[in-house]
Symmetry: C2
Subunit: 548 residues, 2 copies
């Protein structure tokens, strides 16, 4: 007779095995590794909460310390591979297979472990895509998560960095898996309940806050005049004519420059209230001047940002906040919002090829995708119209019958023609392709595909790929904004001028922008200290960004 | 000086205004309309929870009874327009503007109110798309939701029909809006906490269960031999060669037939374990025989289904269940899973045009989209490979370089060439287009667009649109499976035979299927009673489906 509740029984067994190391649900850190050896089974699918920002660091240390003869061949399914311990698991044989989304600081080591055969790669996902698989074929058996505090019933308070936690717990706990949380403290009454205690089986009192990295703090002092120029071009040549009100910004300096030009350059153009009113965005400190100047109606966030806590609390009309007044972030919903409710995604990239494929991969790193490919793709299941979306759709297909023509999401790649260390932005062959060949990946890790990309912005101007009618035009439109790179110098001048006449290419002068005006004085804040001052002292920059 | 916490203050004012009608958070039904008049402001954005299945029916009655001179011009933002009261709001002037997703039983009345100018239409969305906008530009000021029970702190138990509730509450409550829940009873201890009480401001003790409709129960007795034939063709000609393991089924009889053929026809083909192992799916009763025969590993559900409660509880290895043992559904996550983690969407449709656009709209009804366009679209932000996805991608673009070639989602439209009342499935012009012209909609309500559709299945065979290289080939491939409809009779016989030689069209005989074998004896259950018996008596069909 087939058993139909084997997962429930397995969880009950795990809870029982772990209970000897716990007082109720509460586990002392000294018992952590013993607990994990008791409740985790070899070959389990494990999510060791590594989000974009928040890390279950104590649980990572605990898991890396288990005896590989007891626990081995785990299948790790988590969005971020961020801490060294995440990879120690593979070196020690505790883990074997990996499905993930993002590996920022560990990207070189991921590549080398892949090469060395220490990691058996499932796939590299976007965040939302990995979350989706949690409910279909990658449901975790065990989730090791992080929260700020818990009560003795296991109710959890995640604080502003809620991030992935509700999604991970939903899939694991309702999928009859086991949930273990590390918390900074056990309290009698939580500021708010982010995760009901029903769903949490053990709580480890770490006695310290989980690790979190300020990932979205861009020092205005490091913004170059070249970046200011591309920002001016983007605002006047894209945001204004399309009337983009709902959007997502990448995390690079180019978009930080746009944020800091809104209250100056944007204000002069009379664009307040007409663009940039609603965002799917982390709480970027460089948004402070635009928020203070009344540009922004609402921001929903994937995660939080270190130092922005008090500012967010004091600006609850703008940010989603809980009954305790602190930020409520939610990566899955914010990614969904970025996909379906935004009309533009704009981000920096490292390489663009002649088709328009772009990638941030270098040959020796497997950095993963994060959220960009999700938000930087045309959501073909979208059905609600908006002016920017309809205008982009009409540009792409001017002859189709309007009621049968969908709109298009604006997907913009922005950068300087020569980036850091003078590396050209435009290349014949993406490093992503070289990497795929080297590692024998079935797919090159392309960040944004050519067929989703609508515009490329550099200091030389805007290439509007929606208006290109042939592969040739597309190539020349790209060459036409590629500056003095080899790609740019290989342009067909006559064709490029013809494209410019058709406004497929728009130069700064075509937009009435004088490159000499691209001056740092245009930035609404020129330093981290300016951001702090603009916030009325509410923004408390992390010490590594303070020099006063 | 700008106020930055006006929303928080407005909520506090609303709570204070409502508190005179409440005992703590608890409101007696007799006070409901007075409460709503006290806490809702004219022009508010209101989500009156109308899900696909679950309805906040008492709150709908209460809202429809408010005095339109006090509360008027509301903007209704909710997925389902299902109850008559949902539209009474517009007739009475209590509401004015509407953004929604689905209007099944009210679709004719929606159309007539649109015509009469009583409804100002925002847009018709898919579920996930409307949820996305809840976090960007359609955040509700007030949510009126439904749950099974509450405790006195406002913690809620939704039971198996969790559906939209967590998403609606997340956006409303963290967006500083007000949440009012109707519940069947107030208890001391909930079976599980689906919504933390922090997020819920008033609870109305309805004294009865909320309204819920059995939407996904298909009587096997009503499945025709024509539907059995298309199901056989789909299984042998699509599921088997692509090896589709992760998928979503529509709710029509065609896919119900597929579900009931798995343990018979599918078993004979040796496909158990090779196809249909993981689903994003409501708990369809017609899945019972396949589940019992060991075909299915896991199902994640948008909502629940009336009568399936005990069966689900006893099959917790298959379904996501809570600590109380009952189903946990979650529409937003399940739609995300259907979008990004499934390799196939297959559904019935009413009309297909010569491009391959399809629609379920008739000229006098605005039925909305529900979830189909989301799941029936190619998710271009997807980055993880799978065999069916890569195979479909290679068919669409055989000459592109493999590492730069994405896969394709299989999006299949299935139906008989003549449907109900002998209406042809294939048409020159979609009724959706006529409707758009009549109502001056910017977009025709197309359910699945031609460029997302990969296959069309009828009793005449399969048209594989991935293999078509020109618009002409595409048209003839569609005509080639359109049977004796006008469209089918207009085929170019020579070209259709050429397409068949290239396997763009596959006939039943090409697949080794004899149409005479399409017999009802192939169905693993031939009646609702058979389904109940197959479940070991655990499935308790609603009385309207019982005839024994």
């Amino acid at each position: 007779m087939k058993e139909w509740d084997s997962r429930q029984k397995a969880r009950a067994d795990r809870i029982q095995a772990g209970s000897r190391f716990a007082d109720g649900k509460v586990v002392a850190p000294a018992n952590l590794t013993a607990l994990l050896e008791a409740v985790i089974r070899s070959k389990d699918r494990v999510c060791l909460e590594g989000d974009n920002q928040k890390q279950a660091d104590l649980l990572a240390e605990g898991l890396a310390a288990v005896d590989p003869s007891i626990v081995h061949d785990l299948h790790i399914v988590q969005s971020g591979i961020v801490l060294p311990e995440h990879l120690d698991l593979f070196e020690k044989g505790i883990a074997k297979r990996l499905d993930f989304s993002y590996s920022g600081p560990q990207s070189a080591r991921v590549a080398s472990l892949l090469f060395g055969g220490k990691i058996e790669l499932g796939a590299v996902h976007t965040y939302l895509e990995l979350f989706a698989r949690y409910f279909i074929d990658l449901t975790p058996n065990v989730a090791l998560i992080a929260a700020v505090s818990a009560d003795r019933d296991g109710n959890l308070y995640t604080g502003p960095n809620t991030e992935d936690t509700p999604t991970v717990v939903e899939a694991t706990s309702y999928g009859n898996g086991l949930v273990i949380a590390q918390v900074g403290e056990i309290v009698d009454k939580l500021p708010r309940v982010d995760i009901p205690g029903d769903l949490v089986h053990f709580v480890v009192d770490a006695g310290r806050h989980f690790y979190v990295e300020p990932l979205f703090t861009r020092d205005p002092g490091a913004i170059t005049e070249a970046q200011i120029l591309t920002a001016m071009i983007a605002i006047k040549g894209l945001y204004a004519p399309y009337g983009v009100r709902r959007l997502n910004h990448g995390i690079g300096f180019n978009t930080a420059a746009i944020e800091l030009l809104l209250p100056t350059f944007g204000e002069k153009l009379g664009l307040r209230g007409k663009i940039c009113t609603h965002f799917a965005l982390n709480p970027h400190p460089t948004m402070i001047p635009a928020i203070e100047a009344g540009w922004v109606e609402q921001i929903h966030s994937f995660g939080s940002e270190v130092g922005m806590e008090d500012y967010i609390r004091a600006r609850s009309d703008i940010f989603f906040t809980g009954p305790d007044g602190s930020l409520r972030s939610h990566r899955a919903f914010c990614q969904t919002a970025g996909l379906y409710a935004c009309d533009m995604f704009i981000g920096s990239t490292l390489q663009i090829d002649l088709n328009g494929h772009s990638s941030t991969v270098t040959e020796s790193r497997v950095a993963g995708f994060g959220g960009a490919p999700n938000m930087g793709s045309d959501p073909r299941g979208r059905r609600h119209p908006s002016p920017p979306w309809l205008k982009a759709g009409a540009e792409a297909d001017p002859d189709g019958p309007a009621p049968l023509r969908r709109g298009r999401k604006l997907v913009v790649q922005i950068g300087e023609t020569f980036g850091e260390a003078n590396a050209p932005l435009f290349v014949e062959k993406l490093s992503a392709l070289e990497l795929a060949e080297k590692l024998k990946l079935p797919l090159a890790p392309v960040m944004v595909y050519a067929d989703d990309t609508t515009h490329i912005v550099t200091g030389e101007g805007i290439a509007n790929l929606l208006l290109c009618r042939t592969a040739d035009e597309r190539e020349q439109a790209i060459r036409g904004v590629a500056g003095f790179t080899d790609i740019g110098r290989g342009r067909n001048h006559k064709m490029v001028e013809a494209l410019r006449a058709r406004k497929v290419i728009q130069r700064p002068e075509d937009l009435g922008i004088d490159p000499l005006d691209a001056d740092r004085s245009l930035l609404a804040a020129r330093s981290i200290k300016d951001l702090m001052l603009a916030s009325g002292g509410l923004y408390a920059p992390p010490s590594k960004f303070r020099n006063w």
